[in-house]
């Protein structure tokens, strides 16, 4: 089934009776060439690119719940390529280029909206740091424009520019940054993978990984044993548990990150605004809700909900930056489980077990990485070679100390990112 304007018109006139399910609901087979554990954004995009770029067909994605039911279904939907360090810079640049062609590629409306992202700064020192970051982005081939206070005011007239604690000096404007419809990204990749023959198997929890003589042989699941030549672990906050089935301990601590949505409002915030000093960022969804969030709760948690101190902190930061937000009523909040690495950068690598690969450690920034991560992880799994834009995401960088990517410059240690 292809989407087109003509098709929408035809279905609209004929009672919308011709739409079909977007993917099959297959029974798991006894054996696959490749099994992907995890049917979230990254797992689905990995399966899609394995099929599309590498011509592989005998693939299963195993999901313990329903497709896209984890972090890809609950996040603040921001897409950007404003990283500073080599390793991150080329990866997110590649991922953003995939985003820009994603709707045509998937024939699916993911509502990618390049509305522009503005990172605010509040001191001369912070301005210097953003000049340096902007130059790095431009050198990577991406876009960055330094705005002074009046430049920010033209875009964001509703901010409190003269506040005494963090007066606004300017901002780094990333016009190609923006948002996308998170669920549609998962659904579009799922449909694209399914069309190419990938079996998407839901309600199928992996309970064990079979390894013989250092080589992976398959997985045990709640729907029976499945043999596989290669297995990829793409399970975000649950990486520690799944890796433990293969006897591995990972440099990952799972933390809770909260986000919030208000009631639907008329258009008021046209950009993505990031207020680093207050740990606050915000955009407005196409339904009208203000979507905003802050920092981690800062202790390890799998609770999928946060505690009140961080809620209070985020609300305070929002009020400090844009007092008008006090009129909006918060509808709901949620907590996602983040797979935090010591240096705040992800891992796309082989493991010490032959045929077992891992894609994890996306911390609180996994959504924008969905296309790039799947593309690069598929390349690694299909060819056994690292894909150039993701070549620095090595698992052993913590052991060797070589190639750490501490984007925030706070130190490569758990609990600092």
């Amino acid at each position: 089934m292809r989407f087109s304007a003509l098709r929408v018109l035809k279905e609209g006139l004929t009672g919308n009776k011709g739409w079909t399910p977007h993917w099959r609901d297959p029974q798991p087979k006894d054996e696959y060439d490749i099994v992907i554990i995890g049917g979230g954004g990254h797992g689905l995009s990995t399966a899609y690119y394995l099929a599309k770029n590498h011509g592989l067909r005998n693939i299963a994605v195993l999901e313990k719940g329903y497709l896209g039911g984890g972090n890809v279904g609950r996040n603040t939907t921001i897409v950007r390529a404003n990283y500073f360090l080599q390793g991150n810079s080329e990866f997110y640049s590649h991922s953003l280029k995939l985003w820009e062609n994603l709707e045509e590629d998937l024939n699916y409306n993911v509502m990618h909206s390049q509305r522009g992202l503005i990172n605010l700064f509040h001191s001369d020192g912070q301005r210097d740091a953003f000049v340096r970051r902007g130059n790095s982005m431009v050198n990577q081939g991406d876009d960055a424009i330094l705005l002074d206070r009046e430049g920010v005011r033209e875009h964001l007239p509703y901010l409190d520019f003269e506040q005494t604690r963090f007066p606004i000096y300017g901002g780094l404007y990333h016009p190609r940054g923006g948002t996308a419809r998170h669920d549609a990204v998962a659904w579009g990749y799922a449909r694209g993978a399914d069309e190419r023959g990938v079996d998407l198997i839901q309600n199928c929890e992996v309970t064990g990984i079979d390894i013989e003589n250092g080589k992976v042989k398959g997985v045990q699941t709640t729907r029976g044993a499945i043999k596989a030549k290669k297995v990829g672990i793409v399970v975000a906050g649950r990486s520690g548990q799944v890796a433990a089935m293969a006897g591995m301990r990972l440099p990952i601590e799972s933390h809770v990150l909260q986000a919030f949505v208000t009631e639907g409002l008329k258009p008021v915030i046209d950009h993505v605004v990031s207020f680093g000093m207050g740990h606050f960022y915000i955009s407005q969804s196409d339904k009208g809700g203000l979507v905003f969030g802050g920092d981690l709760d800062f202790y390890s948690s799998y609770a999928s909900r946060g505690n009140l101190p961080m809620k209070e902190h985020v609300m305070e930061a929002g009020m400090t930056l844009m007092p008008m937000i006090g009129k909006a009523k918060v509808l709901r909040s949620w907590g996602g489980i983040m797979d935090m690495t010591p240096d705040g950068s992800p891992i796309i690598d082989k493991t010490d077990i032959d045929g077992l690969y891992i894609d994890c450690g996306w911390c609180y920034g996994g959504f924008k990485a969905v296309p790039g991560s799947g593309f690069s992880f598929a390349h690694l799994m299909a060819t056994d070679n690292h894909h150039a834009p993701a070549a620095k995401y090595r698992l052993d960088r913590f052991r060797t100390g070589y190639g750490l990517m501490d984007e925030e410059g706070t130190g490569s240690q758990h609990n600092l990112h």
């Binding site: 649950r238 520690g240 301990r249 601590e253 202790y299 609770a303 913590f398 609990n415």
Partner: protein, 90 residues
């Protein structure tokens, strides 16, 4: 979440600084190999369920605590002074 400091009593989570899994109490020997230090510094069990982690009572008595709690329910079972836990390990 409120933590029961053995010295100050039950206090708001905001008074405490979270350090991480209580592996820090079991530091490898200075000449231990690279893998031992990697395990100590980076690799974690990262349990979904009961955990013991280190918290510093920054806004209170300044003690290091080992807190026994649950990462799924946020239930806090107990807290002990880290020096007492460390003492028992010897």
């Amino acid at each position: 979440m409120r933590l029961p400091c053995p010295i100050c009593g039950e206090r708001d989570r905001r008074e405490f600084y979270y350090q991480g899994e209580a592996v820090a109490l079991d530091r490898p020997a200075p000449d231990a190999d690279e893998r031992a230090w990697d395990d100590y510094l980076h690799n974690r069990d990262n349990p979904a369920g009961e955990t013991r982690d280190l918290w510093y009572h920054d806004g209170g008595c300044g003690s290091w605590l080992v807190v026994h709690r649950n990462t799924i329910t946020h239930e806090v079972y107990s807290a002990e002074l880290a020096r007492d836990v460390k003492g028992r390990m010897k």
